[in-house]
Symmetry: C2
Subunit: 205 residues, 2 copies
DNA sequence: TGTTCGCTACATCGATTCGATACATCGCAA
DNA sequence: TTGCGATGTATCGAATCGATGTAGCGAACA
């Protein structure tokens, strides 16, 4: 779900397409990046639906606009733009997108979608979990836990009838390890969520 | 790469579309199944390329073909077909596919493809690893190991500059665990491959 | 000075894949 | 016999990918 990725990122900061792609690549640790061939159509779709809209200035630090149009003034303006925000965002390129109220609503929908079978989508939801209230967040984790338990059962049931070769067996072993790993990890997250210590989740620094 | 999945499965037994989908679902433990919308076009493509071809009988047990065309004869034929092999394969449905020599060549190409970045494709290659010679198989594992080491480095480098929130951090932790897990698993596989004990990999059965 | 290179940025192309759906046939049970 | 669920092939539109094409810009270098 590319919409989830886009809306989640735009919740934190207005961005243009290229930056979106880069951020997402970092967020998901290299793998599971998105391609331009899906990004730009998705942005157009979201804009048509009113979930995002093009803005002319990055929100981070409003830049004093150009007054004249002389060459010297121009380059000074560019320099101001370039250094205005922590990372360069919408330097010269066009089309900086921001999220709308409708988009924020849509994001909540996507975050609380009952389908937990898509691993990539779940990863994205965790990445944006701070935008979720404590309650649905906890529910997200617990429903994911149920999903993983189901997979583990299915896997162990499949392991029963084995006339596999060595490599099939190794794959199942790897799956089981991953599953156990993820479950332990989820349990840790759930515990952290339940203990009311440190409610300040270093809110949007 | 759906071609890899199809050719790999057909190497072991002639199958029709529906069976292919089921087998693949089992093979990959539920997740990562393929859809009909990609399966049938892929089969048509592979047939056009000469990598698979439609066969009229499942290989398992050749069935005496129909001689007449009377209704009684027909149902008897169907019954014979249905009970001819261990699992029902091509029961009444048409289009049982088998792999060709060209297809086998293509499979080797896909199995030894240098791109190890696609996790799904790598999993499939391991699942069909028994069809590979010992040498390219070992190489497959070792190149995958290099790939994973690269990811781990990238990840730890990214962990350095952290102003993440709690959930981002948790995701990175999970990735690191998975990576360590996979590397240990791969090392075990490589060790097994290197020790010349038990060269009989319970060949095709 | 200008020229070349690489990065940023937007955009589109064809091919692949997905998810849904349609439409038959079969086996089985109410 | 009727109706339902599993089997089976097939196609549709939408989503996505990977490749490629464009430009502008800054830095390096002759």
């Amino acid at each position: 779900m590319i919409d989830l990725a886009i809306l989640g990122l735009l919740t934190e900061q207005d961005l243009h397409g290229y930056e979106l792609k880069k951020r997402l690549g970092e967020l998901l640790s290299g793998r599971a990046s998105i391609s331009f061939g899906s990004l730009y159509p998705a942005l157009a779709r979201l804009e048509a639906q009113g979930h995002v809209k093009a803005v002319d200035q990055p929100t981070a630090a409003p830049i004093t606009p150009m007054t004249g149009s002389l060459a010297g003034e121009l380059s000074a303006f560019k320099a101001r733009v370039r250094e205005s925000s922590i990372v360069k965002v919408g330097g010269r390129g066009k089309k900086v997108y921001g999220i709308t109220d409708a988009g924020r609503g849509r994001l909540v929908e996507l975050m609380t979608d009952p389908d937990l079978s898509d691993d990539r989508a779940f990863t994205l939801r965790v990445a944006f979990a701070r935008h979720l209230d404590s309650n649905p967040r906890l529910e997200l984790f617990e429903r994911r836990r149920t999903e993983l338990l189901g997979r583990r059962d299915a896997l162990s049931r499949r392991t029963a009838d084995r006339r596999h070769d060595r490599y099939l067996g190794a794959l199942q072993e790897r799956d089981a390890d991953h599953l156990a790993n993820d479950l332990a990890w989820l349990d840790r997250l759930i515990d952290l969520e339940r203990t009311p210590s440190m409610q300040s989740t270093e809110e949007h620094s």
